[in-house]
Symmetry: C2
Subunit: 340 residues, 2 copies
């Protein structure tokens, strides 16, 4: 299976490493390779129809050089001419207009290629268009890595729980906010202090608004609402309140009632909303630290909760590998069918 | 897909109801029916190659009558002569010798039928034999319903996280024990009192040893160790300590350190063990009530936790439906492959 990797920052490098690490497993299990035939960063690219060496790409990138030659034109234009099976789109999320991810993904789907992506923008803003395009062209668009880091919540809901009707969902979708709220509760520290600490530890950006104003959570919630509950919403439809105004007093008051405050995204009959809520200790949503969690209610199974690491190089690579394995399994099954 | 249901107690009736409830969904999605061509309880049976009416079977059973005629011979003998695609084995767990489930499952696999089961005995005592037999005959043996009720932990690990190496697992696998330990901690009540309460509420049996001595947890842990971590163990290999000796003093002492006591099953390099442990509040294993939870460590994803209802009519039916959908997807994929 020939991959074109677009975006070669932390996520792209993690995926290249995972491809190298799981080479033998993939070959044993599926009798095929994951071959990287092209890789693009923001300025440069490398390409080889016989397959690039994944760890050499990572080493090149880490030495501060680009991946190879300077791109003569846009990635999308190059994707139209390239021969590959799966686009792995890992450019950074842009919640204003979803570019360049949207054009890259759209181009690949138009050319009847499968797509696996970690980029939230295109799914949070243009879910319906991309979903319909992939179905029309008989290819798959997979995006486990957009939500919940390593937590396989999208594939779990869509594949394993396929026969269930998901009636509502609640989740903690941003590890930075959860870290801040947990520290405030557990150490009795005020918001500003813990935010600074999170910035120093690399859990929060210098401009933290993407996390703490709930923008990241709202993008992810829009994706889940579409993918799992079949709604037709975008990021802009999500009612959103961040955690800037959570005082230590509020956290301590909650603690007296054996509750914690968490930034919760919720989809139910009433709409799609991200806001701080009280959660009883012992409830599956009362988790601490940088974890992410999704709590679903379905008609047969009742409440199901999945918790995992919300971000990180290996964790995001894990979600992308889960999608790539999904494609390998489909291919293997189609092939067996032909043979039998 | 023609089903033979064996065992028509709570689980069997729940499955019949789920088959009726999801009829339209299955037909829309897969263009086929789940047709119950035979149903057996401990004494009687009903059979119709054109398909039995699932809700009529449930009504008959609930009116105190059997399912139809008295069985002239053993279920296994009848399974040898019957025409069906999938055995759904739901007789009660027998942790002494796994019967009659073991012979039923073995018979179906020998006849090259797929098997879906909720019966822990055969998997906890004879995992390797049954696994090898199913592989040899090119059929599937699925058992999501044996562990964790509605929580899809087996299919999650084996299918979605297929490319991950699961390095260790910890779980709460028995809802009765978790209910008792939670109530002791939250209400400050002694073990004997809460056990009696659990018996009155129907969460614990009159003879509670199967739950509180960790027998049920150990059976499930053996299944997980085999299915997810590729070990070769049986129920008898699990080191086991129950919760009878947990005092209120111990629970209160843990609370002072912001911890709770839970009955934890663990598989790691050191072996397979069920015993009471301290868990920090806020940890994914610190859940309360009758919930079940599995916490895994994998090489790429890190820690992943899945929590859900551990038992119940609809919940177990949900797990069986998840396995049946897995078989429908495989069939659909093989068929598409042929057509393409």
């Amino acid at each position: 299976m020939r991959l074109a990797l677009v975006g070669f920052g932390t996520v792209g490098q993690g995926v290249a490493e995972a491809v190298a690490m799981k080479k033998d497993f993939i070959f044993d299990r599926f009798g095929t390779d994951l071959k990287i035939v092209a890789a693009f960063d923001s300025m440069t690219y490398a390409m080889d129809p016989r397959g690039l060496k994944p760890l050499e790409l990572v080493a090149k990138k880490q030495s501060g050089k680009g991946l190879g030659k300077t791109r003569p034109k846009s990635v999308a234009e190059m994707l139209r001419e390239l021969d590959y099976d799966v686009l792995v789109e890992m450019t950074p999320t842009n919640i204003e207009n979803a570019e360049p991810g949207y054009t890259n993904i759209r181009t690949a789907l138009e050319c009847c290629r499968d797509v696996v992506t970690s980029n939230k923008g295109p799914l949070a803003l243009n879910y319906r268009t991309l979903d319909e395009l992939s179905k029309k062209n008989g290819v798959e668009l997979r995006f486990e890595a957009t939500v919940g880091g390593a937590t396989p919540i999208i594939n779990l809901s869509r594949e394993l729980l396929m026969a269930e009707k998901v009636e509502s969902m609640k989740g903690i979708l941003n590890g930075t906010c959860n870290f801040i709220l947990s520290r405030m509760g557990e150490e009795g520290l005020p918001f500003e202090y813990v935010l600074k600490e999170a910035q120093e530890m690399g859990y929060a950006e210098t401009d933290p608004s993407y996390d703490i104003d709930g923008i990241d959570s709202a993008s992810k919630l829009a994706i889940l609402a579409n993918a799992i509950m079949g709604l037709d919403v975008t990021y802009n439809d999500v009612r959103r309140t961040g955690i800037r105004r959570i005082t230590l007093e509020a956290v301590e008051l909650a603690a007296k009632e054996k509750k914690v405050i968490r930034l919760i995204g919720e989809v139910n009959g009433g709409g799609v909303e991200v806001s701080p809520r009280m959660v009883p200790l012992g409830h599956p949503l009362s988790i601490s630290g940088t974890l992410n969690v999704l709590h679903m209610h379905t008609d047969l199974a009742g409440a199901i909760t999945v918790t995992g690491r919300g971000a990180g190089r290996k964790e995001t690579a894990s979600a992308i590998m889960s999608d790539l394995v999904g494609l390998l399994k489909r291919n293997a099954c189609l092939l067996n069918g032909k043979v039998k």
